[in-house]
């Protein structure tokens, strides 16, 4: 199985734990604001019809994130 390192790697139904945010500026603020801090559990719920963005369950809210942005959200483990 290939190694999963960022949030974009997990498939619908899988869960991951955030390890770091590899981004700066306003996006970093926004991601922190929605509760994506180190140790947060995130579940991928599904993909939009064209495959991007995907929907994630973050602290009880469903948030859509684009693949490009997910590249910068690093995860430590998943199942």
């Amino acid at each position: 199985m290939s190694e999963k390192t960022c949030l974009g790697d997990i498939m619908p139904g899988q869960t991951a734990v955030i390890s770091a945010l590899n981004t700066t500026g306003s996006m970093r603020r926004r991601l922190l604001d929605i509760g994506l801090i180190e140790g947060t559990r995130v579940e991928c719920l599904g993909k939009s019809p064209l495959g991007d963005p995907s929907a994630y369950l973050i602290r009880g809210a469903v948030i859509a994130l684009r693949k490009d942005d997910c590249k910068n959200i690093l995860i430590s483990k998943f199942n």
Partner: protein, 714 residues
């Protein structure tokens, strides 16, 4: 904010919160909250006002205020834009934060979503840092109950140190506890002692150092601890606002500057730079929310949101996600077209009957012909056309669309359509602003505030006009039905109309994509910025309430605008038809002047003139065309909508004229209100002018090409 008479039109412009203390003893209460938590419903319930509500984040992009009277007090309630945070990433967050910081509200009610409390607490905690008198209102308790989520309100209140009450905002009785608590907080019967967010020791001492220094200054209503943190944070735009508010430059005061530098050095020594500090501050707030929720919330059902997830699976599915969107659009149009037929006929019969009675009255009093002509054949008749042709489709489309909005489907549309927008280097939320444009382009333009990146916001503003607003699509429906479907009333023909209308809308959407792409490759170059979009839980819309209120609101609005714009236009037409210069009347002169150019576009001078006169309100385009044909021709009057086509045919309309009129209706300059709004929102004449030039040039080009091609084949 939604599409009501107070949020559309010119009033859409006046949208930044100001404290309106009508009397000095008025108590000002700010209503804050995350987007989409029913804040507007609470506001309406408390003030009895009809602010439109909708189930999608960013509905209230502008603020409103209203009066709420309780047994003891009279409150001025200010509804501020819904935000996740007060760190000011976007225009709306800045508006919200500035109001809480500098608007000096006497108390702040933070409305929270009971089904998603933890994330809502983020805003509660940030608000508590700024304001002392905070009341937490946990709304949507019925949804939480349905999902079997239990919330221990007493424990939450104890942990936060502020009063916490629960509401089901659309049930007015549940708001009584809120007003009672408000009274008690204002009379100091309840003492609020909000929780202090504890930062790590190093940050705390850095804060304390600045705070001690700030003690010597008059900070008005600002909290010294919060301000110290913000000075450390180096948030330039906020510091500028603070300086404006205080009337002096904080960092020009030597001792403050010294203290800030000392603290920054101290943090640096401990490996905390500005970025790390910001991270730590936000993380601690998130962690505090998590801690508070432990023990407060119990999920009795593990899969409490399984219904929502199943809906999402269908509505955003790979294969049927798009077909469902199209189908939804078509069903709405079909219901609108079918439903509008009957009231249209009844209304026009009734209104023309009144016209005859009015004529009788004028005859009875021997009123001069010119007076009867100007008032009855001019003003009254154009009003009649506006009401009977334009009103019924609007009165049906609007509530239907509102139901869709309330259900929570629109964010899914934005979700489905994000990728195409990203390909145009734009923001997926642009589809939300386009949806708003269906109601009113001016409101759609204001709605663009939900887009964070200024470049992407401009793209959305400049292209909003390609979605036909409520004032334009009855024009399109009427012409489509007349020329391409036939006058027979039946399921088959109304189905055909709605398919054609959907195609027209799709053309508008495709044009939006094309223009957005071209703009982002030329004058608005840039890469798509990152984005987050919330998909809120689905909610059962309040069907009865929505129907009654949106018809009522909309009806009054349309009638008001019709009276204001159509009546003088009717008078102008009548005058032009009856004032003779040289050999012909003015109307003939003007339309003959426009005719050569209009003919190249496959239109005629009258149609072009109607579009020009329709600049203040697109609703009057068709009525003006009819009026002008009537005034020019020999036919004295037409009694029903079905006879309309006859008039059009007699004046040389063909299917080509109809196609071109529809295209031009979809693509021409925005109405005056929209242009003023664009000027205001972008702060520049240049962008407003461009937003008029782009669709006009496109519309003219399209019409000319279509006409040229058609002429080759005919």
């Amino acid at each position: 904010m939604g599409l009501t008479n107070s949020s559309t039109g010119l009033k859409a412009l006046d949208s930044n919160p100001q404290t309106k203390r009508k009397k000095s003893d008025d108590i000002v209460i700010a209503l804050a909250g995350n987007p989409n938590v029913g804040k507007s419903t609470v506001f309406n319930g408390l003030t009895g006002m009809n602010q439109h509500t909708g189930n999608w984040p960013g509905k209230t992009v502008a603020s409103a205020d209203g009066i709420c009277v309780t047994e003891n007090n009279r409150y001025v309630l200010v509804d501020i834009p819904g935000t996740y945070s007060l760190m000011a990433h976007s225009v709306e967050e800045e508006v919200a934060r500035n109001y809480l910081c500098f608007g000096e509200p006497d108390a702040v009610i933070v409305v929270c979503d009971a089904t998603c409390l933890e994330r809502n607490l983020n805003l509660v905690l940030q608000t508590i840092e700024i304001s002392k008198n905070v009341i937490v209102c946990v709304n949507l308790m019925d949804e939480a109950k349905r999902k079997k989520i239990k919330i221990n309100l007493n424990l939450l209140s104890k942990k936060l140190g502020v009063p916490v009450i629960s509401t089901v905002a659309h049930k007015k009785s549940s708001l009584k506890t809120l007003t009672d608590t408000l009274d008690k907080v204002i009379s100091k019967e309840i003492v609020v002692s909000p929780l202090k967010i504890e930062y790590p020791e190093i940050i705390e001492s850095a804060i304390k150092n600045i705070q001690q220094c700030l003690m010597g200054y008059n900070l008005k209503n600002l909290d010294s601890r919060w301000l110290s943190l913000k000075l450390l944070d180096d948030d330039q735009s906020l510091i500028k606002e603070v300086n404006n508010y205080l009337g002096f430059d904080l960092l020009k005061e030597k001792d403050i500057k010294k203290a800030v530098n000392e603290s920054k050095e101290y943090l640096n020594k401990n490996n905390i730079n500005a970025d790390k500090l910001k991270d730590m501050v936000v993380s601690i707030i998130v962690k505090t929310s998590e801690d508070i929720c432990n023990g407060v919330i119990t999920y009795e059902k593990k899969n409490y949101s399984s219904v929502d997830r199943n809906f999402d699976k269908i509505l955003t599915s790979k294969y049927i996600g798009y077909p469902i969107m199209l189908l939804m659009l078509m069903v709405i149009f079909w219901l609108t077209i079918t439903g509008a037929n009957y009231p249209s006929a009844i209304l026009s019969d009734f209104l023309f009957w009144i016209q005859d009675r009015l004529t009788d009255i004028f005859m009875y009093f021997n009123a001069p012909d010119w007076l009867h002509g100007a008032l009855v054949l001019g003003v009254y008749r154009v009003l009649t056309w506006v009401v009977s042709v334009m009103l019924p489709p609007m009165a049906i489309f609007f509530p239907l669309f509102t139901l869709l909005e309330d259900s929570g489907y629109l964010p899914r549309v934005a979700y489905n359509l994000d990728k195409p927008f990203k390909c145009c280097s734009a923001c997926g939320k642009q589809s939300l602003t386009m949806c708003m444009g269906f109601g009113c382009n001016a409101a759609g333009v204001v709605g663009c505030r939900i887009i964070d990146s200024p470049r992407e916001r401009l793209l959305a503003i400049l292209t909003n006009n390609f979605v036909p607003c409520n004032g334009r699509f009855p024009t399109i429906i009427t012409i489509l039905t007349m020329f391409f479907v036939g006058s027979s009333v039946g399921i088959k023909s109304s189905l055909l109309s709605s398919i054609l209308l959907t195609l027209v809308i799709l053309l508008g959407i495709l044009t939006t994509f094309a223009v957005t792409k071209i703009l982002s490759r030329t004058i608005l170059k840039g890469v798509p910025s990152s984005y987050t979009l919330e998909l809120p839980p689905y909610r059962k819309p309040q069907v009865g309430k929505v129907i009654i209120r949106s018809i009522f609101d909309r009806t009054l609005f349309v009638l008001g605008r019709a009276a204001a714009v159509a009546a003088p236009a009717g008078l102008v037409i009548w005058l032009m038809a009856n004032i003779t210069v040289g050999e012909a009347n003015l109307l003939t002169h003007v339309s003959e002047f426009l005719d050569p150019f209009a003919k190249i576009m496959g239109l005629d001078g009258v149609i072009l003139m109607a579009f020009i006169l329709g600049f203040p309100a697109n609703e009057i385009v068709i009525p003006i065309i009819i009026m002008t044909y009537l005034a020019k021709g020999t036919i004295v009057g037409i009694e029903s909508v079905s006879e309309m086509k006859e008039i059009f045919l007699q004046n040389g309309w063909t299917w080509l004229t109809a196609v071109n009129t529809i295209i031009f209706s979809l693509m021409h300059w925005p109405c005056s209100t929209t242009l003023i709004t664009i000027k205001k929102e972008t702060g520049s004449f240049k962008w407003a002018a461009l937003s008029a030039v782009i669709p006009t040039v496109l519309g003219i080009t399209f019409c000319i090409i279509i006409t040229a091609i058609a002429k080759i084949f005919i």
